[in-house]
């Protein structure tokens, strides 16, 4: 039986009204915490995170995202905003100088912001996660036994094949240290708050399962000893990589897919109708992590030297072996016994969704590594394409910008390829933390669709033009037409 609301007319608030959502989103963005910044990093202030709210009014979230559009600007923006809303549930304090950040602290947790976020959140969740329903279907007569056989086969297959595309991409990069740092930055978004999303399922009253989940949290929190808390161990990894250790210092350098994965676990933890889905998802995550952590430890040693502190990874190789087993034997199996096999599709859905999002994130990361590595080659593509624009052979739409020294374009992505052309002055075209390509007057670069980038002006003034070229390969082929 489906519940439908008892009508009280007229409704106090129509939560299905897209315009209400839109107005709330715009109002949510009207906070100094979220406006553009003049710095790449956020220094020990967990409340400030740029959301580029001035763009909110142009974004359309009325229809769910399709898989092909997962890495578009709309998606990046929705993910940044959603993570911010989720984290307003958590206690975040800076390492030091609280007094100076107290106004930000109060604003971050203000009733105004929380209330607006409550309207915005379900819309963004629907927008971001609906595609998963289409991507994965679960049918047929699943039982506890077939589920167990499937999960066992999965665990065995991981033991047999240990390849890890992200680690391979780092080791093959022309700048391994940068690629490794980019990777650690992606992890940091989640791991510095490790198990917070899990903690969302700790409260309540749900029998022995609750205590079993709590045992996993005990490990995540290092048995109450701060030095061994997993997030503390991860701070050591960041320090080994020469990176800042406060949450979201690298907010601008999170890839869309990294944010999406982080948001996914928060979504499952926050929406308790997805409790069983959460169990499937963490079984997938805990089991996979045993093996990926072994590869990550090897990568860290290969890139930063044998002496680096990789206890975070070695700890997970050990403890997630237990967690994987505990999730299956102490959570999933007893849940089936108590709540019936009808929960299996949800468990499987969580498992499959976590796997799919993990693959998407891995590919996105690999693509970003090549994007950074290929910047000189993409710079070399500027002259031939720009020549075609000058000759009129290509007539893409364009926008010109004039910016003063130090003007920073907060990182973003474009939904199609763009050609950036510097008319005068100097731009540092940024593709990651401390990585940029210098563009002088007359030079330019192809900006590939979906690839994260930003820019900063390094001359008194810089005038540049952005041409929306769509697909740079078509521009280069002789068959290109005026159709652009």
């Amino acid at each position: 039986m489906k519940h439908s609301p008892v009508k009280s007319s007229p409704p106090a608030i129509d939560l299905e009204d897209y315009n209400l959502f839109r107005r709330c989103l715009i109002q949510y963005g009207e906070s100094e915490l979220f406006t553009d910044t003049e710095e790449w990093l956020s220094h020990d202030n967990p409340y400030r995170r740029t959301l580029r709210p001035h763009v909110f009014k142009h974004l359309d979230y009325s229809r769910p995202l399709r898989r092909e559009d997962l890495l578009t600007y709309n998606s990046l923006s929705a993910n940044r905003t959603l993570l911010t809303i989720y984290e307003q549930d958590f206690v975040l304090l800076p390492d030091r100088d609280f007094e100076a950040k107290q106004t930000d602290f109060k604003e971050f947790y203000s009733n105004r912001s929380i209330a607006l976020g409550a309207v915005v959140r379900p819309w963004l969740e629907r927008y971001l996660f609906s595609f998963l329903d289409k991507e994965i279907s679960i049918t047929g007569g699943w039982t506890a036994d077939t589920l167990k056989a499937y999960f066992q086969d999965f665990a065995d297959s991981l033991r047999r094949s240990a390849s890890n595309k992200a680690m391979e991409a780092i080791l093959a990069s022309s700048n391994r240290e940068h690629a490794a740092r980019t990777f650690l930055i992606q992890l940091a978004g989640d791991f510095l708050l490790e198990a917070s999303a899990m903690g969302r399922n700790i409260l309540g009253h749900y029998g022995p399962l609750q205590s079993e989940l709590f045992k996993i949290v005990i490990d995540e929190y290092g048995y109450g000893v701060h030095e061994t808390k997993h997030s503390t161990l991860f701070r050591k990894v960041l320090s080994a990589g020469g990176l800042a250790q406060t949450p979201h210092a690298y907010w601008q350098f999170y890839l869309t897919s990294s944010l999406l994965v982080n948001n996914y676990y928060n979504w499952l933890g926050r929406d308790h109708t997805k409790f069983f889905r959460y169990l499937g998802a963490i079984f997938q995550a805990e089991t996979t992590f045993i093996h990926s952590c072994a590869r990550m430890a090897e990568m860290m040693r290969a890139v930063f030297g044998r002496e680096v502190d990789v206890r975070y990874f070695t700890e997970h190789v050990h403890i997630d072996h237990h967690h994987s087993r505990m999730v299956f034997e102490k959570l999933i199996a007893p849940a089936l016994a108590t709540h019936g096999e009808g929960i299996i599709p949800e468990i499987l859905r969580g498992f499959e969704e976590a796997a799919l999002l993990g693959q998407l994130a891995e590919q996105d990361f690999c693509d970003q590594v090549s994007w950074s590595d290929d910047n000189q080659a993409l710079k070399a593509l500027h002259p031939p394409i720009h020549a075609k624009i000058l000759s009129g052979e290509l007539q893409p739409s364009r926008q010109q910008f004039i910016e003063p020294r130090g003007e920073l374009s907060v990182t973003h992505v474009h939904d199609g390829d763009e050609l950036c052309h510097i008319n005068s002055g100097v731009m540092h075209f940024v593709t990651g933390h401390e990585r940029h390509t210098v563009l002088n007057a007359g030079e330019g670069i192809v900006i590939r669709r979906n690839r994260l980038h930003g820019a900063i002006i390094d001359s008194e003034q810089c005038t540049y033009t952005i041409h929306s070229i769509g697909d740079h390969r078509k521009c280069l082929s002789s068959a290109s037409t005026h159709a652009l």
């Binding site: 045992k215 005990i218 490990d219 087993r325 505990m326 034997e329």
Partner: protein, 117 residues
């Protein structure tokens, strides 16, 4: 080394010098005073489950099985009389010993088996 006398009818758990101990009473056997910290990650063994048939104690945290043989071998030197007991604990002679009565789950018979390994 602290020599500590207690009443085994009212005390089953103690702490001294940062270590925890509990009284493990097996049916038909003399009681043992054993370390409470699981050798794996320090899990509270007094809340574990006894598998008498397998001669094992299962830690509640990650279900590691600790052989009773091992617990017997590493048990504290203990004398139990009808209404008093005395144990010699490691550490300096003057360290305070905190004696308590706690709910022990590691008692026979094993009602629920821990299925982990």
């Amino acid at each position: 080394m602290p020599v500590f006398g207690f009443d085994p009818r009212s005390v089953n758990y103690m702490e001294a010098d940062g270590n925890r101990y509990f009284l493990l009473s097996l049916e038909g056997k003399a009681p043992l005073l054993v370390r409470d910290e699981c050798p794996h990650r320090g899990g509270p063994l007094h809340l574990g489950q006894l598998d008498v048939a397998a001669e094992e104690l299962h830690c509640p945290w990650h279900c590691q099985r600790i052989a009773l043989r091992h617990l017997r071998r590493s048990a504290m030197p203990l004398i139990v009389r009808r209404d008093s007991a005395v144990v010699v604990l490691p550490g300096a002679g003057d360290v305070p010993v905190r004696a308590q009565r706690r709910v022990l789950l590691a008692v026979p018979p094993a009602q629920q088996r821990c299925e982990g390994n």
